[in-house]
């Protein structure tokens, strides 16, 4: 094959390959959303985190504002410490609350943030006091059955 046609084909190939990488990065992946390395840390304490995983999204009003960075158990209080990293473009008031929610009926769990009314904003290393734990299906069913039993015994 001629040198120039060969060069042309290799040029086409490399351009297509690099283009494909860009398509994957920009069109398929979420390269444009939260840059997790640039933000501030807060810790939220939960009684129960259910099936929450590291790297789960942190959302407020449905917008992804950060990610779960780490999960650990405080052996003194036996509550879960969930480290959140939140994008610095999204400041939250100091009395904001965090809850563990589920996307859809069977979807993965994420942390929902609800803004409060405090004038001061959360700083790096702050703790979120007001939290609502994950809904654990067994407990809900347990409470439901207990309530039913109480109802029936009261009706007798």
């Amino acid at each position: 094959m001629q040198r120039t046609t060969l060069d042309l084909w290799v040029g086409i190939f490399v351009t297509a390959g690099v283009g494909a990488l860009f398509v994957l990065a920009l069109k398929v992946g979420n390269a444009t959303t939260v840059n997790a390395s640039d933000g501030y840390h807060v810790i939220a304490e939960f009684d129960n985190i259910g099936g929450l995983k590291v790297r789960a999204p942190v959302k407020s009003a449905g917008v992804v504002v950060g990610r779960v960075e780490g999960i650990s158990l405080d052996t003194r209080t036996f509550r879960a410490n969930v480290a959140l990293r939140i994008d610095k473009h999204y400041p939250f008031p100091k009395d904001s609350s965090a809850s563990i929610l589920t996307a859809g009926l069977l979807g993965e769990q994420y942390v929902g943030m609800d803004g409060g009314g405090d004038e001061q904003n959360l700083k790096d290393g702050d703790r979120l006091k007001v939290t609502q734990s994950a809904i654990v299906l067994e407990k809900v069913i347990g409470q439901f059955l207990y309530g039913k039993a109480a109802e029936t015994s009261a009706a007798k």
Partner: protein
Amino acid sequence: MFGTLSGGLRLVGRRTINAVWRMGAATRFMGLVLLRSGLSFRRFHLMIDELHFAGVLSLIIIIVSGLFVGLVLGLQGYETLKRYGSAEAVGTLVALALVRELGPVVAALLFASRAGSAMTAELGIMKSTEQLSAMEMMAVDPFARVISPMFWGGFLSMPLLAAIFSVMGIFGGYLITVVIIGVDAGAFWSQMQSNVDLRNDIVNGVIKTIVFGAAVTAIALFEGYDAPPTAEGVSHAVTRTVVTSALAVLALDFVLTAFMFTGV
């Protein structure tokens, strides 16, 4: 009884020694390939030739296979997800399956059977017809002039081929689910974008393709260089390239997946 036992043990011993010897030879070989790769970068057209040989010539099979894998994934994914009322998630399914696993692995397997086998055959024949010896005697180092450019050509081609494969697959999935079945295009893309992570999914997938490319190319070149200089020897070497590459890719895939996606 004792005779067969000691015979069996001897066989195991011989095989082991042989395997270790080959590992050593392969390591030395790769060391030389890397050490003498200066020329590949100084005389760039050597590498262009090999990019053509390994990359451009594999392009057709990669594009066609990628498209079909995407079509099948889209169809199967849609049929299953529809039962749970989440047919829009098919975009996520297709993209994650391709970017994390199928893109790197299937592209590497195709690359091994298309480009890897060709590299082994070319090198084996060059060796058996004394072309490599002739080059040495002309004071041209075959490692610098032939083998290193081949390695870098294959090494660079593989991630590009896998990316093209994944994009074609996603396009195929889009074609079947959005254009033909009629899943909502906006949901298809937005679900995909919100669930495919650049760092965790795409970058990890690319790392896999780089590892696979290096492994397949190294195996192909070593088998070719190590082939007995006969027609039978070369044909066995080609077979071994395809088999060993496939096993290496699948085993490496398991190891890499375990490190990357399980959060260990």
